[in-house]
Structures are given as C-alpha cells and as structure tokens.
Symmetry: C2
Subunit: 436 residues, 2 copies
C-alpha cells in the first residue's frame, strides 16, 4: 500500500480547509501514519469556479458517484452538509464498503441511527469528530477516552455565533439586534442566522453528543430548543447581580428512566469555568462516574480547526486500514449497536430546575405579595428577590430567583401572573444551572 | 473469544481504583466492547494485606512473572511506579507479546524511548493515558485527535498538589510552609512532598507530552525544573496588581532548531482561562497550527479519574485485539519510530521571555536609577515599575516588569545588582507567559 486514497465531496469552506491542511501538513501526517493521504477525486457543483486552494483540474468531477463507485478510494469525505443528497450518498458509499468521514451535524442528529447502523453492519468506519465542536476532540473523548464511565451529564456552549453575540452583549451592555447586525457584517453570523440564534444548531450537536454519551437512539424532534433572541441587557445585568452569566447552553443529563436534552439560554454561576468562555469559542463540560468532571475548550468552527478534526478522523481510519484492515474496531456510537437503546426524552414541562423570573409590574405596594402568592400556590418557593427603588416609568422590574421547581408549575404560575392587572409585560423566564 | 484477560501488577491506590471501576462499570464497558474485561491475576507485595476492594484470594500472587509468562493474559497493567522493577517487568512483558497499560510517568519520562521502541518493534500496544493528567484524555488528543497538526506549544498546570498550595496562598494570602503543612495533614501532599513542590513530577509529565507532541526523543536531565518553595504572598499580591496569577507551569515549545521545555512558577494573565484553574485540577493548553488553541481541564490525580484513564486504554487495546488483532495501529508516540528525532533542548539561559523582578532595597533616592542602569547595560528594557511609598522597614520592595529579554542577560544583571550596597536581599525572579 503506497497511500490511503481519499474521495472528497464538497469544496466549500471546510473542504478547502481540508485540502489546504493536507497539503501544508503532509510531512507531519506522513510521519504519524507512515503513508501519505492522497486525494484521488473531488466532487463539486461547479467545475470552473475559482478556488482558494490549488487543486488539479483533473481531480474534479460533478458526479459524486464517480467517487463512490471507484474501488480505489478508501475513505469518502462528505462536506456538503444538509440532509439530501448527503444521506443517500453516504449510505451508498457505505454499501460500497467505503469508510466515511463527515462534518454533517444536521444529518447525524436526525439520521444518525440509520447511518450508524449501516456502517456497523458493513464493518466500515465512520468519523464525525468535525460535526461537533470544530477541532475540539470531544467525540473522541466520549467514544474512547471515557469508555470506562457511565456518563452522567454533558453540557456545553456549542454554538460560536450565539456565544459571540451573548459575550458582546454582556461586555458592552448592548442590544441583541444591534450586536447581531454587527456580527453579520463581520461574517461571524450568517445572513440568515436562524439556526444559530434559535438554538437549532445547538440542538443538533447535543443530540449527537447524547447519542454517544448515553448509548441512545433519540428523536431529534423531542429536543427542546429555545434561542437567545429575547435576551436583554437588563437580564444580563440582573444575572450578574446574582453572580451568574447567561450562556446559550446545550444540556444532556442521564436520569434513571429517561434523558433530559434541551437547549436554552441558561444562567450559570460566574465561578463555573465555562462561564468565562467568550466569543467564538466552544466549551464542553462532561461528568462521568469515574472520571468526574472534564472541560474541553477550543474553536468550534472555522476552516482550519474543522479540517483538523476531519484529518484526525482520516488518520484514525487509515491506521485501521493499514493495521490489518481492522475497520469497525470502534463502534460509531462507542456502544455496540445491539446495546443502543431507544430512550425517552423528558418533556420540557417535566424538568426540575431553578428559575430566574423578571416581572414587569406597576410600581404599587402589594404587587410582590400578589406574585409570590401565585408562586406559592403552585409549589414554587423563592430563593431571593430584587426589587429596585421607585421608578418614574410605568413598568418597574421585580426579579425573583426560585428554588428548584417543576417547569409545568412555573408555566401555570406565569400564565396566571401575566394576567394580573399589576403585570404590564410578559414575564421573562431563564433557567439556572447551579454547581461549581 | 469470551473475554479480554488482564494481568495487574500493583494493588495500591490506583490499582484498587481500577479493580473497583472494572467491577462497578462492567455493564457499560461490556456494552462498549462487546466482551468483558476480566482480571486473571494480580501481583502484589503482601498476599495477606487487607484490601479496600473485594478480590478473590486466588487471583493474588507475589511473582509478577506468573502474569508475564501466562500466555492467556492479553494485557499487562503496570501500577507499581518507579524505575525498577517496573522497567524490567514491562520490557519482559513486551518481549512475551503482551500489550501494556501503565500510569508510570517517572519511568516513561526517563526510559520512554526504550520502552516505546520495544513495543513498536514487537507490534504491541502501549497505553499510558493515566501517566499524565489523571482522567483528562490529553494523551489521546495528542496521539490521535490532533494528528493533522504541527503542535506548536503545550503548557499546563500538571501537578495538583502544587496548584492546590498556590491556590490557597493566592486566595488566603497565606505563607507557603503553613499551607504545605495543612495540605499534608489533609492528605493533598505527601509526607515527602519534594517531587510535587520542586517541579520534578511536572518535569516528568511535560517530558512525556513533548515526546508525543513533537515526535521527540529527549533527555529528561536537560529539562529545567524550578519549584514553588520560594513563592511568597507578597509576589502573589504584586502579580495581581499587574493583572497576573502565579501558577506552576510546565511549558513545551517547538522552535525551529530545538525545543524549549521547562517547569517553573510562571505569571500568566488573569484573562488566560487556565489562570482560574484552582485547587487539585489540572489544565492543559495546546496550540496546533490547524486546530489553534485547545484547553483541557479535569482531575489530574485520584484513584477513580486515573482508573478511568487506565480502563480507557484497556478498551482501546481490547478493540484492537478483537478487531483482527491490529495491535500497534497507533504508534506509542503517534509518530512512527523511524520519524522520532533526537531533539536539542534549549538551555534555560538561552530562553527569551519577559520577567518579573522584585528587588529588596534601602529606601533612598537614586536606587531605581542604579538598578535600571545595570538592566539597561545588559540589554534588558523595562515595561513597568511599582515602587511603593516610603516605608519604615529597612528593606522596601521595588518591582520591575521587563520586556522580553534573554535569561542569560537577566542572570548577569541580577548578579551585579545583588552586589549593590543598596540591595538588601537576593532578588526574586519570576518568568512571565504573555498571551490571552
């Protein structure tokens, strides 16, 4: 064997990064692998487009099946994203016995079980380190490093765009829409930022991580996702008064009979190390029963960090190919497919956590008593209250931090409270993760 | 194959942790591996000793060669520590074709090249995740996750005892010896704490990490190690005034023609995320040319976190055994043995960094001018000075932060300065890592 042959589908930002790093770091890759990684063919949409990287025109094709049907190609790299044609291409390539490396988080979050099962049945390897956390080797840690553990929980800041916006709002006291616009101008946010700011991208990523961490087959549509569009500088400032920061957190927890998996803006204590992870960085906080807590921080996106993850997978799979063709040595989800259980996801209304509630009320005596009355009636107990001095505005804020309560009870209470005469606007609700 | 058979040498703290986690988490390990991991025999010094874990008396032997010569045992776990007999036992076991898992950092720091070469020649696997950073999967990240990268630098807080002591001194303004004594009483420091507080343990760990990161064969005796015994609350307070924290840092940097590898108390900016890693936690900061910076934080010691790392390696190697016997698929240092270069380690006197200097001087006009004169003559330029108001004591502190300078020049300057009449005590020197 003289080299490991790669077929690449997609030559966008990440694809270009992969080609560049394969070229620039060919020396160190060969020192580690013993053989070079060679791109045999690249499927692109437009043959004639100008590229940011030097690629031999003869490598390009418009038909991805040229790669899939080439018996010479060992590993297929899928970097086009989205559900179709990515899903069909990957399944066809697995059928042809190709090993797969992909960065496609949307695809794996929704069709992971189908793709993992197909790869496992065929005994081919499937690398997807790049699908979550860019260059951070979090998937490798879950699949291999923490294999001795029952993973108890994993949560993280998994979307750099949302984290950048929240960090800017926090540091500069600025408004969401203003910061979003600036982020779009700087290229940190997409022209259509919905996936990032509404928590959808984060939901995809935490679904993949939970599948790995808990050996679970789960339904993406049951993952609760709430974005950051309603976060205001006022709430960020109050959070700080209580010693908290607001982060868009993706949370997965193993319970006895189900898992919790949810994405929402979350107040975390300033003493928690990941509360200081700002800007475009990603952070992952994993707790296992043997290893205790582990934190991983790094660039969650970008051409080069993502290429680092893609090529890390290529090296891993190539080592399998070279060493006795031991493909399939690590099951896609780390658990054998026969051990994967369909798990129930707790409905968001059933979760128990503590809450930050900001009420906009008229500045009259007796208001707090009315609100706390409704909370008490719904089994919600108060841990602290901030009610600032008299204002001249019509609406004044009253902020209440609760002890642990059931979300269903909170929602019932807020429904009633928001109809009180003394309450002028819809109450703001933020969930709190205590600890550290 | 019904199970993977293990031989364990050493049933101390970590060995007991491994047995416990293998028992408690047998379910999840089997779900991931498909087979159980079974301890076939354990070599101990005292057969009759009371153990913290339930072990069948028939598994115990006093002769480690019972394990090494048993053709039934697939993987040998070495947890006795120290150079001998560990080195001879591991080499004999490799000769017998056994795969090895070890947590022995002292051994690998000094005899790594010999052991790596033997394992590589025999085609057996050698797992040593537990030798550095307890449960933090930093070795897996360097061997596999970052395989696409030229690693440019790695530095970290790699000794929990020293970090605990420095954290306590920082938070409580207390003296080194007082905090050390308390740490010993609480069991956080050994009765003989030399290895931890003098930076020797940290030197072992950074030597292993640099061998992996840079594909290097290096001479442990050339690693500069300076401990924390001379750190005072006064210097911690001054560091804070400049916006820095003092940490015992183990540093490895790849230069064009050599590497830098050194351990010493270091001032790092408070804005650097790892400056807030306190207590017994470890932290690793890795920079690769593709992946950019990555940070790993977790428990660097303790029976269960270390057992998590040991068993993670057992699962990795077992997956190799089960999948077509592809042992040796990952070279011990990630680089093929043929690519490992002997590297020169820069002498500490040749490094270039910035410095914190605290002079104890008489409180007279003209002192600063004398000191800065000597510094200037030695090519050392000053970035800032703190000279507090007049004191009644004989000695007053003058603190100077320098721009980047060569250590040799600094030492020459301090030799001259410490002989000035106006200087009353040996000058305190701390190195600074800028950035982030």
């Amino acid at each position: 064997m003289e080299s490991v042959k790669l077929g690449l589908i997609g030559l966008g930002t990440v694809g270009t990064g992969v080609v560049k790093v394969l070229q620039q770091n060919a020396d160190v890759i060969k020192q580690r692998l013993g053989l070079p990684l060679t791109i045999k063919q690249i499927a692109v949409r437009h043959l004639e487009k100008d590229r940011e990287v030097k690629v031999d025109r003869h490598l390009l094709t418009r038909d991805p099946y040229d790669l899939i049907n080439d018996p010479d190609i060992d590993i297929l790299i899928e970097l086009i994203g989205g559900y179709e044609p990515a899903r069909t291409l990957i399944l066809s390539a697995i059928e042809q016995g190709k090993h797969i490396v992909t960065a496609n988080k949307a695809l794996l979050a929704r069709y992971g079980h189908e793709i993992f099962s197909a790869a496992s049945a065929k005994g081919v390897d499937l690398g997807f380190e790049a699908s979550v956390g860019g260059g951070v080797p979090i998937i490798r840690a879950l699949r291999e490093g923490f294999a001795a553990n029952h993973i108890q929980s994993i949560y993280g800041i998994v979307n750099g765009t949302a984290n950048y916006i929240l960090s800017k709002m926090t540091d500069e006291g600025r408004d969401f829409h203003e910061v979003l616009k600036e982020a779009q101008e700087k290229g940190y946010a997409e022209p259509d930022p919905t996936f990032d700011i509404e928590g959808i991208d984060s939901a995809h990523k935490i679904a993949i991580l939970c599948a790995l961490a808990f050996g679970a087959h789960l339904d993406l549509d049951r993952v609760y996702a709430e974005g950051i569009t309603h976060i205001t500088p006022l709430d960020i400032a109050y959070a700080r008064e209580f010693g908290f920061r607001i982060k868009l957190l993706a949370i997965g927890k193993r319970l006895d009979d189900a898992i919790e998996i949810r994405v929402h803006p979350t107040m975390i204590p300033e003493t928690n190390l990941i509360s200081t992870v700002d800007g475009v960085l990603n952070a992952f906080y994993v707790v296992g029963d043997a290893v205790d807590k582990n934190i991983f921080i790094g660039r969650g996106a970008g051409a080069f960090p993502t290429a680092s993850a893609v090529i890390g997978d290529l090296v891993e799979i190539s080592r399998n190919i070279i060493s006795n063709h031991c493909g399939g040595r690590v099951p896609p989800q780390s658990f054998l497919m026969g051990s994967i259980r369909e798990v129930a996801i707790k409905d968001i209304s059933d979760i128990v956590t503590s809450y930050y509630l900001r009420f906009s009320v008229v500045d009259k005596p007796g208001v707090l008593s009315k609100i706390s009355g409704v909370l008490g009636k719904n089994n919600i107990s108060i841990s602290s209250v901030i009610q600032k001095g008299r204002h001249t505005q019509a609406a004044v804020p009253v902020v209440i931090m609760t002890h642990e309560a059931r979300e269903r009870d909170i929602r019932l209470a807020l429904e009633e409270i928001d109809q009180l005469d003394v309450v002028l606007e819809k109450t703001v609700l933020l969930r709190v993760e205590e600890g550290e």
